[in-house]
């Protein structure tokens, strides 16, 4: 059962009675409402209606049943391809032919964290394989997760992927962007606590 925070502990004792009552009503509503649901990463993107911006930006989602079928087919295909690739080569999915390695260090939000982003060679379509190694990042509670962003002028601008970690992990990503349009070595990792969607909590950034 969800633990309800103690109102008096939250507010302290120096609040005038009228304001205290007002805040108490809000407290009760927060408890009554329960937690807002977490949106999946897919839902972070605006679902542009087909007749609005679909030709450029939107995509019509398949009906749920069809999506499940497609997902199952995609998973089966991925397994087959994975097996075939595994037989054909001994390299791991997190091993790439790195052309550049960017050292990342923890910010004040995660002082002990560190990481390395290896950037592979882009294919002819403009897809850049990347492998991110991170250490000393703690698991985020209640559905929180980490994002990898590309930056421009030091600000996180485009999302390259999402991951979870409890201490240490290696994650493979693909960036489908023209890297020349972003900061050189401009990758940062942000943490996204439950319900927080802005990329403003940078935990790893490039070493200067």
């Amino acid at each position: 059962m969800r633990q309800v925070p103690d109102f008096d502990d939250l507010i302290g004792g120096d609040v005038p009675a009228e304001e205290r009552e007002r805040l108490r009503r809000t407290h009760d509503l927060l408890v009554q409402a329960g937690p807002p649901p977490e949106l999946s990463p897919e839902m972070e993107a605006v679902p542009w209606p087909d007749d609005a911006l679909a030709p450029l930006y939107g995509r019509k989602r398949k009906p749920a049943g069809q999506r499940r079928l497609l997902l199952a087919a995609a998973l089966a295909t991925a397994v087959v391809i994975g097996v075939l690739l595994g037989q054909a080569t001994s390299s791991s999915p997190t091993s790439i032919d790195a052309r550049r390695a960017i050292k990342l260090h923890g910010t004040e939000l995660a002082r002990n964290a560190e990481g390395t982003l290896e950037l592979g060679k882009g294919d002819r379509h403009g897809n850049w394989p990347m492998v991110l190694h991170v250490k000393n990042l703690k698991k985020l509670p209640n559905g929180g997760y980490y994002d990898l962003y590309l930056t421009r002028n030091g600000k996180p601008l485009v999302l390259c992927g999402t991951f979870n970690v409890d201490g240490e992990t290696v994650v493979r990503f693909t960036a489908a962007y023209d890297l020349d349009r972003f900061d050189r070595n401009g990758w940062v990792v942000t943490r996204q606590p439950r319900g927080h969607h802005e990329p403003d909590q940078i935990v790893l950034k490039p070493a200067v």
């Binding site: 507010i11 009554q32 807002p36 972070e44 679902p47 509670p141 485009v158 390259c160």
Partner: protein, 207 residues
Amino acid sequence: MGVSVALPGAMPYDARRGPTSQDALEEARGASDGDLIRRVARRDANAFEALYHRYARPVFGLALRRLGDRMRAEDAVQETFAAVWRSARTYRPDRGAGAPWLYAVARNAIVDRSRNRSSDLPGEVPDAPTGELGPDERAEASYVSWRVHRALEELPPNERDVIELAYYGGLSQSEVADFLNIPLGTVKTRTRSGLGRLADVLEGELR
């Protein structure tokens, strides 16, 4: 050590907006619900995006409670915002604020999805087992959640974080301070400020 594969993320903002439209989006984020709906009626993409970010979680929460299935609830969210886009012209500010209108649009989309579910899966148990809340109580509870979740979206991120971690993350004030790496006093200040701001939004009619 875990190994996973992640997919590429969203498209860059500037791929679909002009150089000045980031300002327009910021401006839209400060507008009232009613203003945004009227602008959506005029096919303002920034207004639609702002409305989505403001209401995605409340709509998803409502759908999840009603449908009990994340995938169907996600579809209902998409249908809701498609309906908002289609029917924004029918919004009449003189008949009420934007939030109740959006609630009605969402509820209709979710009910439609629920009916589809009934026809898809005959014999499935209803989503309100006998002995639990009646229809009126459920509607009331749903609307409270809707308003509160909507109001949470109004908070500055630093206040929303401490409120959600305290109320829904099960963390004590000290644990919130530790988690966010900020002083305990700051947590208390933000909590109180956030509750006050929520009270302002909730006690006034949602615009």
